[in-house]
Symmetry: C2
Subunit: 479 residues, 2 copies
């Protein structure tokens, strides 16, 4: 809205602001009931003094367009020109509140809002730093766009066949052997979870997962009235031995796991455990979703093959993505599993978005088939190693004695647990005041009130250093 | 699977087929309980005689891998090598059956399966013919990929800002004035409906819509336990006067309408009705979803402005898409509406797929901002005019006296209603036997048992002629 202000005009700024807000209200962009941004926020949006904003708000309030609620901020109220005669206005806010899908947690909403700011040091983000994203190679791919392999029409339900064949080849290299008919292309791994939640489970189902887990930070299952049941894990990954009891206790219908470079703990399941997990899954008739978002991002050496490589019975739905290795903006991931399940998920995908972008599907195939994918991976692994080692060094320098952590051998994350209780949300807020964003452990496990997820994938080396030092200082104050 | 057969091998074909199927079973791609394709279908997949398939199936049955059910086809059963000792296998079919989202209607599943076949004449498809898709211009855009405007990271919740600004400019040209903050980029118009269904409505809500309507062919609302309530429409579009009574009767919370070049009737709402609808919506506090998928595809002259242009109160959520004008494969559409609603939908979009493809968002902006969009539209309008006129001419030549229809002034569809009762599904099947795909009216209105949706956007002119002639013949036989 700021660029609508004319600082050379004769009309005072407060009147211009009044006009801009009035227009938003009269055009229905801010309908009746909308809580408008706080005066502090408006002042920062318009780059003016708070008193200028106050003057504009006062005018609008006097006109009857706004109404200040004690403690509840300022809300849009009835319009002067439509008058009382027209009766009550449509109450969108009740619609916004009553939808089935839960809103993101307030902390995640806050993180989403803050992380677009330039000055912020992002220590929690699950994303490659822009400097690690392969802009040049992507341009090269686009420049050589060959029309023959590009589709502009609606794609087949399971996604572009050629791209599925390329994915099949990549999976083969990991020891996973599936045919293209058993692969569904999705718009990122997250969408795979969403489709599974509305496609394969009844309401009130239960899903087993490591605790902490990325899954707890989402609402894909919970919004469909399902519940998550946490199971313990150690440095070797989740413990298959506890599954029968856990399953019995909560009546679980599915297990979700991130065996390789786990989010948020960075852990890696051992091959022995993987085999055991497959055995237990078979014995318990318990399907597994294997989320392998980070599997290619090893730092110290290749991990053991995915769970899916040990699965002879089709009990595992394998999920992969290009988001962590090439570009999250591509929005390309895949699910591999039994054909009837893939067909069901494909049918629902067609019913909810008619398939993934064919441009992205085409580019994804190009990446993997041209060798650029491997080349890019090698580069990213090197960079991640430097970043991880820097983060570990900073932790040793600043957090020795007050926290513990494990050395991840791949992926993006270090799970840092402080030794003494502290208000993790206060730590979050104090860090934010210093322009540092962290992801509190409670996003991944309600009870992880002494932990944070530290990501070394995004912030620069100097920001990592500065950020970790500051967090250590703040934590010391709070403990 | 066909290309796995080696016709020069010494191993008999039936044994090779046995081996291929066995592998699918042993790898778990066809898990226990899977109904395998019929022998007829397998014979056509492998391009062999049916007896060859039968020999393979017999062997597999003898080995205990398959089991023939009387009338129920052939199913995968337990594995020989895992033996009975391992207990029951995971039953994926029960998962596939119990998911929350409804499967596509059987007719639509059949259409999806058939329409990939080359020899099929597609008279029902809601898609531009490949010859109308702008492959050359898309290539040009990709070749000039400028890195600066390309984003590879996760995008903002509402979508790429630049693309939203370009969309804002386009909407302005239609008389719709919204700011980029009030626009959400989605992966096609269908996704907008999906997000609205899980984001703004309670279970058991009711949605008003024209009957027939495209909405009846989807399950986006019904899968969330909502119901659709049909309201009558005539050549001027839906009749706003009946809304208060309809709303009262079914307690509707939302109205969905396709005012311009309606799917499936091709009708266009008059400006007078639009204004009246807006008035009623306000009076009734009834939000409107305006689906403007076809608005740019006028043939005889520009339509009146969208409903949204008359909406002063933010009661209308406006939905647009590039699928019908540029490329469905792009998967780019948008929703414009009150900011709090857009923010809610953006939050859910982030929670279900982290945003639309940034490649597609970038390409969409290029299309609209470069002028290629308008140029392409002009070309498509010309072609659609020729196609529509041909279809009308064929209808006059072959269906005079047995059916009636209206002349659409834009979009893709002609709604053809036969004068006498006939088994519409038999017509569908008889046409399919002659390699012609039609969309039965019952997809869009359960009771439209004498209608079909004819699309002139896909089939070639000669196929249109041939198809319509054949349909007329078949209909005459059936009436
Ligand atoms: C374990 C895991 N799975 C899935 C995702 C989502 O990735 P995508 O961008 O492919 O949807 C993430 C991203 O944070 C992740 O950490
Ligand atoms: C009225 C209408 N809305 C929406 C869609 C879906 O379009 P999109 O490809 O943008 O999801 C269609 C496609 O058939 C349609 O006819």
């Amino acid at each position: 809205m700021n660029n609508q202000l004319d600082r050379n005009s004769d009309i005072p700024l407060y009147q211009q602001i009044e006009q801009i807000i009035k227009e938003k209200i009269l055009k229905g962009e801010w309908p009746v009931g909308t809580k408008i941004p706080s005066q502090r926020k408006l002042a920062s949006i318009f780059c003016v003094n708070r008193s200028t904003v106050t003057a504009a708000i006062d005018e609008l309030t006097a006109e009857g367009l706004l109404e200040g609620k004690r403690g509840g901020g300022t809300k849009v109220t009835k319009y002067t020109w439509s008058g009382l005669a027209s009766g009550p206005a449509l109450d969108w806010t009740s619609y916004v509140r009553s939808g089935i899908h839960r809103p993101n947690s307030l902390t995640i909403q806050e993180i989403n809002r803050q992380e677009v700011k330039k000055e912020i040091i992002r220590l929690g983000t699950g994303e490659l730093s822009p400097e690690l994203l392969p802009y040049r190679d992507m341009k090269t791919i686009l420049r050589h766009a060959e029309a023959e392999k590009l589709t502009l029409g609606y794609e087949e339900p399971k996604g572009n066949r050629y791209t599925r064949e390329v994915i099949k080849d990549r999976l083969e290299q990991k020891g996973v052997s599936v045919s293209p008919d058993s692969i569904l292309i999705v718009s990122g791994a997250l969408q795979a979870l969403q489709l599974i939640s509305i496609g394969l489970l009844k309401r009130k189902s239960a899903v087993l997962t490591e605790r902490p887990s990325y899954l707890y930070s989402l609402h894909v299952f919970q919004s469909m009235e399902m519940k998550l049941c946490g199971i313990p894990a150690d440095e070797k990954g989740l413990d298959p031995a506890v599954i029968p009891a856990c399953k019995k206790q909560c009546g679980a219908d599915l297990l979700y796991t991130i065996p390789t470079f786990h989010n948020p703990t960075g852990r890696q399941m051992t091959e022995e455990r993987k085999k055991e997990l497959i055995r237990i899954s078979k014995q318990q008739c318990l399907p597994i979703i294997e989320d392998d978002a980070y599997g290619d991002l090893w730092i110290d050496g290749p991990p053991s093959p995915p769970l899916k490589a040990f699965d002879q019975d089709g009990n595992v739905l394998y999920v992969g993505t290009l988001s962590k290795t090439v570009s999250p903006g591509l929005r390309i991931g895949w699910v591999a599993g039994p054909e009837p399940v893939i067909e069901r998920l494909a049918d629902i995908k067609m019913q909810t978005d008619y398939g993934s972008s064919s441009l992205s599907q085409w580019a994804a195939a190009k990446w993997m088939e041209s060798g650029l994918y491997e080349k890019n991976l090698a580069r990213i692994r090197n960079k991640l190693k430097i970043r991880r080692d820097t983060a570990l060094r900073c932790l040793e320098a600043h957090c020795e004695g007050i926290a513990s952590w494990e050395k991840p051998s791949g992926g993006f994350y270090i799970w840092v647990t402080f030794h003494k209780p502290l208000q993790i949300h206060t730590l979050f807020e104090k860090a934010l005041k210093k322009n540092i964003l962290i992801n509190p452990g409670t996003l991944y496990d309600q009870e992880a009130r002494q932990s944070i997820r530290l990501s070394y994938s995004y912030a620069s080396l100097s920001d990592l250093e500065k950020g970790i030092r500051t967090i250590a200082e703040l934590a010391r104050e709070l403990m």
